[in-house]
Subunit: 585 residues, 2 copies
């Protein structure tokens, strides 16, 4: 196998075109085996096999520097830059991250996971090179939906002013995670149809030189194009037309489903695990919204390129019709759009992963909250326990969202409470409301909860006790129950257990009352401590005799962590917390 002879990019340069073709197929087989066993970003990497080979054939990494956008399509790059064992050998599968990672290799320059950053970062490498008088090539690889993010546009706009070498490879696979959206993608289509010849060219309009590669999965065509732009003295776009999931039938047929995969049967393309029977908040949300949409034409679901986070599968998107909008990967626009719709009397519901809501901080503050428009945001996966790549951490949304005035950020603790809050958020017209969708599985309490949340910052006392009060927020409510139970077992004391429900404000009356027969307040939040909920409780009690213990995660970037270990390291197990309480009393 040729793949075994590739220890660094220089080994690629020794191969003939025919051998490179064989190498491509070998790499696909390796990826198919690993990803079917291990899971990962399937479609983006299958589409980029030839382009990555061609890049390393033409350019001299790491002197020449390749920056991959999102970098979930850098698997082939990793295979070719000395990290192939992590793809060939199942025992080493986890030795590389799913994204580019400078700590792994001198061929990687940034840890990148959010989209649309590559042109700006590569622009920085180019500017740094120019300041230092270097001559190397700087290459940004962007595409797979990430052109629609504003940061990419800002980067392209700047690139035109750089007046020096910057090569921007646009990987046009006609897809985002789901299908592409937006006017720009129509221009890409026209460019494909005219083989790059049409006069109205987005990239040229941005002041950039341009070159088209008709078959972006043809290694010869790619090598020719890259060789032609190598050492260019000005920024140039190489637009390559690739097939997402190329070479694996099921992935080519179901591009959205195979964007990211969990382990599956190679023969059938079906996952080994059947989740269809399991209740989840995504499906609950989509089904509820679809029902409401039929009753009320003003309701509209919004996604920024990840419709299934809120349960909107292709079928449900079709069912919703004009009442569901995918703006592409463009979180800023999604929030501003929601504010505008709400201002016009519509009922927008924007569903977004915790890790991505931070891409729209200014829009949350300016476009939405200053204007106090009653848009609804559903923040999914907000938890220490969801994604564990450093680029996709989901535990910073509380500091991001909750410190903005006017925002009402709710933390439901079970299915019934979530549905009640969602229903209220659509009914009310007073506030921008965000809901931190529970991230610890669908827990049913079977109880009727309050249906009206318009009396803001009114916490719910679930168990009335003494001495110790536990404020257990959202997904950590069940942890709070466990701590209260264990504490009772150990001490005989019934602690007061409180469901705060509102992340964005304090129940001053209740907090004041607690002083009467409590000496310790414990806060639990499923997120980072800094700038979070617990600190506000600590501030409230700062001048008083009340002791406060805040539980959550330390402010740090952690990567591919074991969640149990992370929880233990932050003293977030019920045993540790109970121990601390007993010691403190």
């Amino acid at each position: 196998m040729y793949i075994e002879t590739i220890h660094s990019p220089s080994d690629i340069k020794k191969l003939s075109m025919k051998e490179l073709h064989v190498l491509s197929e070998e790499i696909r087989q390796v990826l198919l085996k690993k990803l079917s066993e291990h899971g990962g970003h399937f479609g983006p990497n299958f589409g980029m096999v030839e382009a990555t080979i061609a890049l390393h054939y033409v350019f001299n990494s790491p002197q020449d520097k390749i920056v991959y956008d999102v970098s979930h399509q850098s698997y082939v790059h990793k295979i070719l830059t000395g990290r192939k064992e992590a793809f060939l050998n199942p025992e080493q599968y986890d030795e590389v991250s799913g994204y580019s990672e400078p700590q792994e290799s001198e061929h990687d320059f940034f840890v990148i996971g959010h989209t649309s950053t590559s042109v700006s970062l590569a622009g920085g490498l180019a500017k740094g090179r120019d300041l230092k008088g270097g001559k190397e090539n700087i290459i940004a690889v962007i595409g797979d939906g990430s052109l629609s993010g504003g940061e990419a546009f800002e980067g392209l706009d700047y690139a035109a002013e750089l007046n020096s070498n910057l090569i921007i490879v646009v990987n046009d696979n006609q897809m985002s995670i789901a299908e592409n959206h937006g006017g720009l993608y129509r221009n890409l289509q026209v460019l494909r149809e005219s083989e790059g010849q049409c006069g109205c060219n987005f990239f040229k309009a941005m002041g950039l030189d341009y070159r088209y590669v008709k078959d972006g999965n043809n290694v010869e065509q790619l090598i020719e194009a890259f060789a032609a732009v190598k050492d260019s003295n000005h920024p140039v776009v190489v637009h390559i037309n690739t097939v997402k999931g190329k070479g694996y039938r099921f992935a080519e047929q179901n591009k959205e489903g195979f964007h990211y995969c969990i382990p599956f049967n190679v023969e059938t393309g079906q996952t080994w695990t059947d989740f269809s029977e399991e209740e989840d908040y995504a499906t609950l949300t989509a089904d509820y919204l679809l029902k409401k949409m039929k009753e009320d034409p003003r309701i509209v679901g919004i996604t920024s390129g990840t419709p299934t986070v809120m349960g909107f599968t292709p079928e449900k998107r079709a069912e919703a019709g004009k009442q569901f909008v995918d703006v592409g990967i463009a979180e800023e626009h999604a929030v501003a759009l929601a504010s505008g719709i709400a201002a016009a009397g519509g009922k927008p519901v924007y569903g977004v992963y915790s890790t991505f809501i931070q891409r729209a901080y200014d829009q949350l503050s300016q476009d939405l909250c200053i204007n106090n428009n009653p848009a609804v945001l559903l923040v999914f996966w907000g938890s220490l326990s969801s994604m564990n790549d450093v680029t996709h951490l989901c535990f910073f949304d509380i500091p991001v969202v909750s410190n903005i005035p006017n925002m009402v950020y709710l933390a439901p603790t079970c299915k019934e409470e979530y549905m009640a809050m969602l229903e209220w958020s659509l009914r009310q017209n007073e506030h921008p409301v965000a809901i931190r969708v529970p991230a610890n599985g669908v827990i049913t309490k079977g109880e009727v909860t309050d249906s009206d949340y318009s009396l803001l910052n009114h916490y719910q006392v679930v168990r009335k006790g003494e001495k110790v009060a536990i404020l257990a927020l959202g997904s950590f409510f069940q942890l709070g129950e466990e701590v209260a139970d264990l504490f009772k077992t150990k001490s005989g004391i019934e602690a007061t257990l409180i469901n705060p429900r509102y992340i964005t404000g304090l129940d001053n009356e209740l907090l004041e009352e607690l002083k009467e027969n409590h000496s310790l307040v414990v806060t639990l939040e499923d997120g980072v401590l800094d700038g979070g909920f617990g600190e506000k409780i600590a501030r409230y009690y700062g001048p008083s005799d009340m002791k406060v213990l805040n539980y959550g995660a330390r402010k740090e970037f952690v990567d591919r962590f074991d969640i149990e270990e992370l929880l233990r390291n932050n003293r977030l197990t019920k045993q540790q917390i109970t121990e601390d309480i007993l010691q403190k009393l």
Copy 2:
């Protein structure tokens, strides 16, 4: 005067073309008088006189809805929509805000101050209209530099998919606050030169219909163009070529200087106040950086459209040459670019207003801090006391910047400390460093301060006392001194006074030590309390007997406030704080 007959937009429709021309001149005289006496956004409004008249002549506001980007160019709109007294009558000058404001008029739809939002917000109004089955026109007015922000691009990209009425007026005055930057503006130039006819058209490439108006200060041409697109059943761009500052010689000659004005002499165009002798942090910064740039070619200043915030006047920009980059209004790109430059071994220094750094939260987190690149950020005007428009509040930067892991956010308390921290930030290669430039005037202590800040989170004890410790951060350090003095006068007790210096971390050792002979810790920060510095101190002492009082601003949006009143309302005067301390002891 015709202006006196205009009570609502319907009155404009009664005037002849000739009368509209006279009205334009009357409005310019009114603006000249008010702005020369009162200050305000000069150039943007002078350029938009005819376009605003034409918009109201053609469309039927408020049924048809006009959304002004940044909205600092909505003065003429205010004059024409029942608010002219606030421009004619000096006693009423302050009765309108400098931005669009729904609470003032049914003709305003959003409070807007940050740029690049209008297309997205108008897109929301259009989508809301479509959901409800309305037929009104929705108009976004964008330009004056705000096309370069990513959110504008995301909005344009979405607009093409709207398939219904949305009219986007691009006010092309060939300027941002300073000159325009970026490839897009070259396309605008080509469009102007070809009178909208050139084949490579950015807006058409984005999938939008397009129309050009050669003289955007000619009311007939504008009326013709707007009438042609009125009731359009699809999104269309009307590109109007205007002159920033049109009609006032000094403003046309010095477009950057007259973007915003303070009171000036109409005859000479000179401000009444001469600030040139006064020392300020902008000039100190530019002069220092220019000196360092000459010694070190790796140093590069970066601005996102506001070069003078860091002292880079046109002359100093010219002097810096390639070592100064204006990316246009594109904060996201600015941060990512800085990270890229630092990764390449350059020394980027990005200067930005506090209110705008929040536009790049995700880039601070992902592009910069996860990668831990040693870029330098200078956050200017971070204070309760700087800008007081609700859209430009400068007191949220601490929660935004300081809760991101790896970031080192420094708070100097005087000129010497600022210069020492700036020098260190450029010298070190370990951390992304942000400096919150003091915002309470240039205070000189005349002392040599530490030159090395690499021992992170090491607070400085300025006065060693007992019982009470005052942690006085950055611009509030002098308030801390005053409180300590007043407290000593009243109680005879010398309080410990601490300059924390580091916003991003705790000096655990010192905080622990304080427990020995202090019972109260007071924190002072010139910003919002929620998610800020003081809460972290409260969390630290939560489990202990130490009492903590946090001083800063309540989480709320405030508009055109009187600073003394705001400080009093938040108990931020030295008397109030001292009173609280005495009461608490």
